[in-house]
């Protein structure tokens, strides 16, 4: 009764609900429940001129997987062949209902998605149109829109993970969707190409390739095509990473065997040296606001994580546990750093809170390295050799929900796109 009253009030306040209703859900759903997971019912889709096999694997499976992994929704199982009524929804304890209808118009598929609460009050509605090849992208778009309609943020469903793979005989730079789908090669150097890193606008990647006989930095569009070599005048040119706020690239350069952290503009101009110690420095990574850079240094006698201001000043050590730490990467809110930490002779992912100084290990089998945060800060992708080969995995930041994303050849160096879409 109370819920219905709220819904009626919501309808009066927002008469034109069908396509945007982001705030209404808070008026119909108990706020304490909204903070945890919402139970959502998803009946079999209505199909016109489309067979279930046309759309099951490319559309419904990834969509329901996204929804169930969103951390916001839990799918409430529906009894088969039942007409959906408010009573049915109440019986299965569903707070939301997602109705899907898909039809074919020429070569295009048209998907209509409508979200309503248990009383039938509309929360969200949108039409999506695309070719058969676009169906999986549509699935991720629907999931992103659903999550955004509830908490204002799109979730990780449209983000991309760049990585290196040797499946075609050489290490090349590849891309995949957040769930491991749609894996495709971006480079075709036929050489050793590794360590991709996204630009903040998700349009480009910088990486290291030995295509010219020695290691050099290249920039390439996410769509592939021509690559640009960034001439640094230094050796190594590894661990390159775009600044989140400018067109600077931080990287490891070396003169006469002394690797240090350098910054250079993406057109190859204005090279600056940030570290000057005689020890080995490696693996720079910008803080999300671009004001600080974390890096690895052997200055204490073993590789440890340090943070400095983006000008190279104010250096302080932040890792004290583990005899080999590397691969530091900042959470999107800048409060945590995940890194590779050797514990009892095995590499594990460690997450350190920069405010409290505390850290925790996300333990797993095998060696686990190179963590990278999802743009919503709720997931970490990393590489592990637990299967006997290097593969890329994904887990929640509490270490649960581990899923293997790659399986062809060996795969490593994951870097999650900085933007959600």
């Amino acid at each position: 009764m109370r819920q219905t009253a709220f819904a009626v009030l919501a309808l009066l306040l927002f008469p034109a609900v069908p396509l945007c209703a982001q705030t209404q859900i808070t008026s119909t759903i108990d706020p304490t429940k909204a903070a945890s997971v919402l139970r959502i019912a998803i009946p079999s889709p209505e199909m016109t001129g489309v067979t279930f096999t046309d759309v099951d694997a490319p559309l419904f499976k990834p969509l329901t997987r996204d929804i169930s992994e969103s951390g916001i929704f839990a799918i409430a199982p529906l009894p088969p062949n039942v007409t959906i009524t408010p009573e049915v929804l109440q019986r299965i304890n569903a707070q939301l209902l997602l109705k899907l209808a898909v039809k074919k118009e020429g070569e295009d598929f048209v998907l209509e998605a409508r979200l309503s609460d248990a009383t039938g009050a509309p929360q969200f509605g949108k039409k999506y149109r695309g070719s058969a090849a676009a169906l999986t992208r549509i699935a991720h778009m629907v999931a992103a829109d659903l999550v955004r309609s509830l908490n204002g943020k799109p979730g990780p469903f449209l983000s991309q993970i760049a990585f290196a793979s040797d499946r075609d005989g050489h290490w090349e730079i590849w891309l995949m969707d957040w769930d491991g789908g749609n894996q495709r090669a971006i480079t075709h150097h036929g050489a050793l190409s590794i360590l991709p890193s996204w630009s903040p606008d998700n349009e480009r990647m910088v990486y290291t390739s030995f295509a010219g006989g020695t290691s050099e930095m290249y920039v390439i569009s996410r769509r592939g095509g021509a690559r640009t070599r960034i001439s640094t005048g230094l050796a190594l040119n590894t661990s390159a990473t775009f600044s989140p706020v400018s067109n600077d690239i931080a990287f490891v350069g070396s003169v006469a065997g002394n690797p240090d952290i350098y910054v250079i503009k993406d057109d190859g101009s204005n090279r600056r040296r940030l570290t000057t110690a005689s020890s080995i420095e490696s693996t720079p990574e910008w803080s999300p606001n671009g004001r600080q850079i974390s890096f690895t240094s052997g200055r204490s006698g073993s590789p440890q994580i340090y943070v400095m201001d983006a000008e190279g000043t104010n250096v302080r050590r932040i890792s004290f546990d583990g005899d080999w730490n590397d691969d530091a990467t900042w959470s999107p809110d800048g409060e945590q750093i995940a890194y590779t930490s050797r514990v009892n002779g095995r590499f594990q992912i460690r997450v350190a809170n920069l405010i409290t100084g505390e850290s925790r290990i996300l333990a797993g089998e095998g060696s686990n390295e190179q963590p990278t945060w999802s743009p919503d800060g709720k997931w970490l992708a990393f590489q592990s050799n637990r299967s006997g080969k290097w593969q890329i995995y994904r887990m929640r930041i509490d270490g649960t929900g581990i899923e293997q994303l790659t399986s062809s050849g060996e795969n490593k160096d994951p870097d999650w796109s900085k933007k959600s879409e």
């Binding site: 006469a256 490696s282 080999w324 190179q370």
Partner: protein
């Protein structure tokens, strides 16, 4: 007397016959010896060394020529031969180390001698390699330091710095794909590669 002498003569005959009879079975083994003698001709073929000695005396300049012919023109084959014969030697490192051990210094000294002598027409690429126990990104930097440590040492031994290039492969290209110390110790190295003139 006659009887005794006759008897003596008979006994002699018997003894001699007996000796013959005993000796007879021993003959076949003696006969089998010739095949053994026949199987010895190979030693007889041995003389050729003498012939080559004669050649060496006749052509004093020949040894260096022979040596040059064994250096293949194909650069990969040349590297194989040079490594096999120890003209150039890879330098090995301790775990997370980039300093040169006595063995590594000896290997580089041998390499420097060849580079300054018979190999003076060639340039050198030093590849720095690491074992898999470190992390990929730090190991790329460590491999760079290892390669440059060897380069500096070769330069102090008189090899022109302009002839030496370095590259780090970190842990990307292990020599031994195994996952034990036997493999790791092989993978922590500066690999010396002869490159074009």
């Amino acid at each position: 007397m006659k009887k005794t002498s006759k008897a003596f003569a008979w006994t002699l005959v018997v003894v001699v016959l007996g000796l013959f009879a005993m000796a007879c079975p021993k003959k076949p083994p003696i006969k089998t010896q010739p095949p053994v003698v026949e199987s010895t001709p190979p030693p007889v073929v041995a003389p050729p060394p003498v012939e080559t000695k004669v050649e060496n005396k006749d052509f004093v300049q020949e040894p260096p020529q022979v040596k040059q012919e064994t250096l293949p023109s194909d650069i990969e084959e040349l590297n194989r031969v040079a490594q096999n014969r120890g003209y150039i030697k890879d330098a090995f490192f301790g775990y997370d180390e980039s300093t040169l051990s006595a063995d590594a210094q000896a290997a580089l000294t041998a390499s420097a001698n060849w580079l300054k002598g018979d190999g003076k027409a060639y340039n050198l690429l030093i590849e720095g390699h690491c074992d898999e126990r470190g992390t990929e990104q730090y190991n790329l930097a460590l491999g760079d330091r290892r390669a440059n440590t060897a380069k500096e040492y070769l330069v102090t031994l008189g090899v022109d710095a302009s002839r030496i290039r370095t590259v780090s492969y970190g842990e990307e290209r292990p020599f031994d794909p195994g996952h034990d110390e036997s493999a790791w110790s092989k993978n922590r190295r500066d690999h010396l590669v002869i490159v074009g003139k």
